[in-house]
C-alpha cells in the first residue's frame, strides 16, 4: 500500500537531486532545470499532502497549478536573462559570472 511517506520520500529525493544540480552544474540552463526539479518536488509534496491530509478541499492542487504557472514565467525570464548574459559575456557558466558582488 503506497502511503504519504512514500510520496514524501520520493519528493525529498527529487529535491536533493535538484539541490545537488543547483550546486554543481556550471551551465545556467542546467541550473534552471535543477530549480525546476526542486519546484516539482515541492509540487509533489503539496499534492500528496492535499490527497492524504485534507482530501475534502483541493487547496494543495490549486497551489500546484499556481506554482507551475509561476515556474513557467520564471523560466521565460530566466532564459531571457541567460541570452542577454551570453551576448554580453560569451558565457553562461555560473562560476564565471561573479559580478553580483558589485
Amino acid at each position: 500500500m503506497i502511503g504519504l511517506e512514500h510520496y514524501l520520500t520520493v519528493a525529498a529525493g527529487l529535491f536533493a537531486l535538484g539541490l545537488f544540480g543547483l550546486f554543481t552544474k556550471r551551465n545556467t540552463v542546467a541550473v534552471l532545470m535543477s530549480i525546476e526539479l526542486m519546484l516539482n518536488a515541492v509540487n509533489l509534496n503539496l499534492v500528496a499532502f492535499s490527497r492524504f491530509v485534507t482530501p475534502e478541499v483541493a487547496t494543495g492542487q490549486v497551489f500546484v497549478v499556481f506554482n507551475i504557472a509561476v515556474a513557467a514565467a520564471e523560466v521565460a525570464v530566466g532564459l531571457a536573462m541567460v541570452f542577454a548574459i551570453y551576448r554580453d559575456r560569451r558565457t553562461v557558466n555560473v562560476d564565471e559570472l561573479d559580478w553580483m558582488k558589485w
Partner: protein, 623 residues
C-alpha cells in the same frame, strides 16, 4: 643750532633711512646695482650726518644719562601692559649712533670696491642697510621689548650676511651656527625680559630706573639677580662670550666687509650695549656684576690664547674680537660703564680697520687667508700696510693710539676691584700685542711670494681705510681730552685720569711683546716652531681652540643624536608599529569577510540552504 634741534627731534629718521634704503633696493633697484649701492651709501651717510647732529645736540643741549631725550608713541596697550615704541637719546645711545652709522657708512663705501662684480651686489647692499637699520633702531630703543625685537632683527641680518655666499656649504653652516648659538642666549634674554615685566609691570628703561631702588629696598635682590643673569645670557651668546663664542670665528664666512661690520659695530656690540642700557639693573646687583666680570675676563684671556696660534688672518681677528669683547664685559662687570663704552668705540674703529685691511690683503692675494702664505706686502700695498700698522698699534695699546686710552681705563677700573682679574686683563694685553704683531709681520714683512703679484686696492677701498686709520689715531685721545666720561657714564661723573703705573707697565709689556713678535716673525731671529715645540700641550690646546667645538660636537652626538636614535626607535617600532599593526589586523579581518562576497550565486545558494538546514535542525531540537 637749528640743525642740532632738528636732528634730535628727528632721531627716529636715523634707523628709518637705512630701512627705507633696504626696501628701495629690494623692491625697486634690485637689478640696478650701481643705484642700489648709491642708495645704501646715501642713506647711511644721511644717518651718520643726523647721528652727528644728535651727538652735538646732546653735548650742547645738556642731555645727560639722567635727563635723556625721549620721544615715543604707544605701540599697543592691553590690560596691565602698555608698550611704547620710540627713541631714547642719551650720551650712551648718541655715541653708539655715531659709531654704528659711521662704521656702516665706511663699510658700505668699501664694499663698492670689494664686492665689485659680485652677482649678489644689490642683495649685499640691501642686507647691509637692513643690518644698520636694525642696529640703529636697537640702540634707540625705549624699552626692553622694542630692544628685543630689533635685537632679533640684528640676529637675522647677521644670519643673512654670514650666509651671503649661500652656495657654499661652509657659509650655510656658519650662518646656521651663528643663528642657533645666539638663539640659546636669546631664550634666556626673553625669559629675563618676561621676568622683568612680571616683577615691575613695565619694560620702559626710564620707569625701571625709577622703580628699581624701591623694589630692591622692599623685596631684596634675589629674584632680580636671576632676571639679570637671564638677561646676561643674551649678550653671552650675541657678544661671543665664553662658552658661546663658537659662532663668531665662523662668521668670517661672510664677505669681509660684513665681518668688519659684525665684529666692530653691529652684532657683537649689541650685547655689550644691552648690558650698558640695562645697567641700572646690574649696578645694584654685585653678584650679577661679578658673574659678568668673570665671564668677560675669562673670555678675554681664553680668546687671546687661541688667537696666538691661528693661521688664517680673519680667524686671528675674529678671536681678537672675542677677546676685546671680553674686555668690554669685564669693564662692565667691574662697574665702569665709561671704560666699556670707550673701548667699544675705539675698538669699533681699529677692528673695522683691521678687517677691512685684511679684506684688502685677501683681495690682492686672490682670497689667500693663511698668514704664513703671505709676506712682503709692505712694498706692494703701502696704504694698506700703513693703515693696518696703525690699527695694530691701536689694538696693542701703544700711546697715543686710540686703544691705549680705552684699554688703560679698563685696566684702571679692574685694578680697583679685583687683583686676579687685573692680572688676567694685563696678561691679555701682552698676548694681544704679540698675536697682532705675529699677524702683521707675517703679512707685510719677510719674503714676498714670487707667484703672487699683489696690487694695492682701489680708491673705494682705500678711502675707508684712511678714515678709520685717522680715527684709530685720534679716536682715543680726543674723547679722552674732551671728557668722554662726563657724558657716557653711569652714576657720578667719571673723571678721566691716567694711572702711570698701570698705563706705563702695560705699554712697556705691549712694546716688549711686539718686539718679541718681530724677532720671531719679522726678523726670524727666534724660531716660532721651537717655541711651540717647547710647549706642545699649550700649542695643541690653543691651535684647536681648546676643543670647545669638539666638546659641543661630543655633547651633541651623545645627547642630541643619542636621544634622537632612541626616539626614532620608539617612533618606528612603537608608534608606527601600533598604527601599522592595527591597520594590518583590519586588512586581515576584511580579507576574511570579503570571501563571503564572492559574487558567485552557487556559493550564496549553498550558504542559504546550509543555513536553512541548520535552522530546521535547531528548531526541531528546541521543540
Amino acid at each position: 643750532m637749528d640743525f642740532l634741534t632738528y636732528s634730535l627731534h628727528h632721531a627716529w629718521l636715523i634707523p628709518l633711512l637705512p630701512a627705507c634704503s633696504f626696501l628701495l633696493i629690494v623692491f625697486a633697484f634690485y637689478s640696478l646695482p650701481r643705484l642700489a649701492a648709491a642708495t645704501a651709501i646715501t642713506a647711511l651717510g644721511s644717518a651718520f650726518t643726523l647721528a652727528a647732529g644728535v651727538a652735538a645736540a646732546v653735548v650742547s643741549g645738556g642731555i645727560s644719562v639722567e635727563k635723556p631725550f625721549i620721544s615715543k608713541v604707544n605701540w599697543f596697550a592691553i590690560t596691565g601692559l602698555s608698550v611704547d615704541w620710540g627713541v631714547l637719546v642719551d650720551p650712551i645711545s648718541a655715541m653708539m649712533l655715531i659709531v654704528v652709522s659711521l662704521v656702516a657708512f665706511l663699510v658700505a663705501i668699501y664694499s663698492v670696491g670689494y664686492m665689485h662684480g659680485d652677482p649678489g651686489f644689490s642683495r649685499f647692499f640691501a642686507y647691509i642697510s637692513l643690518f644698520a637699520a636694525s642696529m640703529l633702531g636697537m640702540v634707540l630703543a625705549v624699552n626692553l621689548l622694542q630692544l628685543f625685537v630689533l635685537w632679533e632683527l640684528v640676529g637675522l641680518c647677521s644670519y643673512l650676511l654670514i650666509g651671503y655666499y649661500f652656495y657654499k656649504v661652509s657659509a650655510r653652516e656658519a650662518a646656521k651656527k651663528a643663528f642657533m648659538t645666539t638663539r640659546i642666549g636669546d631664550f634666556g634674554l626673553l625669559l629675563g625680559i618676561l621676568l622683568m615685566q612680571v616683577m615691575f609691570g613695565t619694560l620702559d628703561f626710564q620707569e625701571l630706573t625709577a622703580k628699581l631702588p624701591g623694589f630692591i629696598a622692599s623685596s631684596g635682590s634675589g629674584l632680580l639677580t636671576v632676571a639679570a643673569l637671564l638677561i646676561f645670557c643674551g649678550p653671552v651668546a650675541k657678544s661671543g662670550q665664553f662658552p658661546l663664542h663658537v659662532w663668531l670665528p665662523d662668521a668670517m664666512e661672510g664677505p669681509t666687509p660684513v665681518s668688519a661690520l659684525i665684529h666692530a659695530a653691529t652684532m657683537v656690540v649689541a650685547g655689550v650695549y644691552l648690558i650698558a642700557r640695562s645697567y641700572m639693573l646690574f649696578a645694584d646687583l654685585p653678584s650679577a656684576l661679578t658673574v659678568v666680570a668673570w665671564f668677560g675676563g675669562i673670555t678675554a684671556l681664553f680668546a687671546a690664547v687661541i688667537a696666538l696660534t691661528q693661521r688664517e688672518i680673519k680667524r686671528i681677528l675674529a678671536y681678537s674680537t672675542v677677546s676685546q669683547l671680553g674686555y668690554m664685559m669685564l669693564a662692565l662687570g667691574v662697574g665702569s660703564l665709561t671704560a666699556s663704552m670707550f673701548h667699544l668705540m675705539t675698538h669699533a674703529f681699529f677692528k673695522a680697520l683691521l678687517f677691512l685691511g685684511a679684506g684688502s690683503v685677501m683681495h690682492a692675494l686672490h682670497d689667500t687667508a693663511d698668514i704664513f702664505k703671505m709676506g712682503g706686502l709692505k712694498y706692494s700695498m703701502k696704504v694698506t700696510h700703513a693703515t693696518m700698522g696703525i690699527a695694530v698699534l691701536a689694538i696693542a695699546g701703544i700711546p697715543p693710539f686710540a686703544g691705549f686710552f680705552s684699554k688703560d681705563e679698563i685696566l684702571l677700573a679692574v685694578s680697583e676691584v679685583s687683583m686676579p682679574l687685573y692680572f688676567i686683563a694685563a696678561l691679555t694685553v701682552v698676548l694681544t700685542a704679540f698675536y697682532m704683531g705675529r699677524m702683521f709681520f707675517n703679512v707685510f714683512y719677510g719674503e714676498p711670494d714670487p707667484h703672487q703679484h699683489p696690487h694695492e686696492s682701489g680708491g673705494w677701498m682705500l678711502f675707508p681705510l684712511v678714515v678709520l686709520a685717522v680715527l684709530s689715531v685720534v679716536g682715543g685721545i680726543v674723547p679722552f681730552a674732551l671728557g668722554f666720561g662726563d657724558w657716557v657714564r653711569f652714576g657720578p661723573t667719571h673723571h678721566a685720569g691716567i694711572n702711570w703705573a698701570i698705563a706705563g707697565s702695560s705699554t712697556l709689556f705691549s712694546i716688549a711683546a711686539l718686539a718679541l713678535a718681530w724677532r720671531m716673525y719679522g726678523s726670524k731671529q727666534l724660531s716660532a716652531d721651537a717655541v711651540a715645540a717647547k710647549l706642545p700641550w699649550l700649542y695643541t690646546l690653543s691651535y684647536n681652540k681648546f676643543f670647545v667645538d669638539q666638546f659641543y660636537t661630543l655633547i651633541r652626538s651623545i645627547f642630541v643624536d643619542g636621544l634622537g636614535a632612541v626616539l626614532y626607535w620608539i617612533d618606528v617600532n612603537i608608534v608606527d608599529g601600533l598604527v601599522n599593526n592595527l591597520s594590518r589586523s583590519y586588512a586581515t579581518a576584511a580579507g576574511l569577510v570579503r570571501k563571503l562576497q564572492s559574487g558567485k550565486i552557487q556559493q550564496y545558494a549553498l550558504v542559504y540552504f546550509a543555513a536553512a538546514i541548520v535552522l530546521v535542525v535547531w528548531l526541531g531540537g528546541v521543540r
